[in-house]
Symmetry: C2
Subunit: 257 residues, 2 copies
């Protein structure tokens, strides 16, 4: 699973920060010119990974701080007999490797689901960022807190929701996040690209693969959603919300990218 280095000239190759496609989405709050220049100077590289590759092994500390520019990834932990728990999914704009800068215990792995591209920020400059650009430091903390709230929600699912409720909550959660990033196809019932396999879903929700399949199928047969050709369409949001008691609200993202 090699890194992809031949990214230049591809449409998903991260451009200059001032041209950042993410920033054009209204999911991201504005930054000043000075902040933009600082980010641009801080960014040391842009790299890509192919679908399914390991961005960061579970037992190894990140050597840099990354922003996910395009594609989907996930954080996970595994037990020694191979049981895997996906902690949360990473979408464009999310940070990778922040936790490691702030704790020295065991960590988590990060795998790419689709092909991804990342912007690289050297760790050594993180302290400088806190010192020189408190607004950006605030954004970093904002991202960390938001990620935790995603994990909180997932823990509520794994701990207290049954299989159907977990799936309903996850589908709505991911659909909302992708839509919020402007990734929904409005001409197609607001469908979003959905690259997860059922195995990803099972490992995120703490279910077996087979039971995940049956529960997913049940929701599909009940007409609540539709997954086909790598795209997810929410057909009955009300019913899904009732199942999951879904009620979290979109938030305005403060970007570091």
């Amino acid at each position: 699973m090699p890194k992809l280095r031949q990214l230049v000239n591809r449409s998903d190759y991260p451009p200059a920060c001032s041209q950042c496609a993410l920033r054009k989405s209204d999911a991201f709050s504005p930054v000043s010119d000075a902040q933009l220049r600082y980010i641009e100077a801080m960014r040391s590289d842009r790299i890509g990974y192919s679908a399914g590759s390991h961005i960061k092994p579970e037992n190894q500390r990140a050597t840099a701080l990354y922003t996910l520019y395009s594609g989907w990834a996930f954080r996970f932990k595994t037990l020694s007999d191979g049981r895997r728990q996906i902690l949360n999914f990473l979408l464009p704009g999310d940070l990778i490797g922040l936790q490691e800068q702030f704790s020295d215990g065991p960590s988590h792995g990060v795998d790419a689901i689709t092909e991804v591209t990342l912007c690289v920020f050297p760790l050594t400059k993180l302290w400088d960022l806190f010192r020189d650009h408190s607004g950006l430091a605030y954004s970093v903390t904002w991202l960390a807190a938001r990620e935790e709230s995603n994990v909180d929600e997932n823990l509520l699912s794994a701990g207290r929701r049954n299989a159907s409720e977990r799936i309903a909550a996850l589908l709505l959660h991911l659909h909302r996040r992708a839509t919020h990033l402007g990734l929904a196809d409005l001409a197609d019932n607001g469908s979003i690209a959905f690259p997860l396999t059922q195995s990803h879903i099972a490992d995120a929700l703490g279910l077996s693969l087979i039971h995940t399949n049956r529960s997913l199928r049940k929701l599909h047969l009940a007409g609540l959603h539709h997954i086909e050709g790598g795209r997810l369409t929410i057909l009955n949001p009300k019913a899904l919300e009732r199942l999951s008691e879904y009620y979290d609200q979109p938030t305005r993202q403060v970007p570091l990218i």
Copy 2:
């Protein structure tokens, strides 16, 4: 469940920050005099809550940022039919209300387990702290990241460990945290105060109360641990570690208190 306001002159009443008992523990990294003065000036109040009281309701935003000075508390979410999931336990030095400053979605409640005392920091000054004291801002982010890693670990339990493994992991985790804070009684096999009821354990691990009781009992009968008179003693750490595959390491806390 009223607040306790009559705290002055009690031994657990938070003193001046320069005399902070927490800081004397080597779990906390040193801060400069200037930082100390800033924290002291930022702190607007000290309050107490009785055991079992609600520090923050689930649906209401925190009106301030708090540091837990003494006692135990927990963060939780509930579904509308009452199913409750405890997200993590809060021990002295932990922050309360940070997430709310950084997201506007639904949140979590915070309840006191024992009687607790808190130091209060006005929200409005958080931005100032980031601007004027990047070292402290870094600490805040550090605390947020560490809390997330606690939730990560709990999610691994709820999602992929069986009942005995979950309990083993939780007991070790709490014992380690308390010991790290200097709360262990070295003259008594390193036992720690353990104010959780089995109901707390069940809700933290995503188990039923009854099954929690049985599993806990099994570990006790196997001689792995001992809980009595509100104290926990780890009798066979090796066996508990084997059960839970426990391997996370202590970290040096950067305090904001």
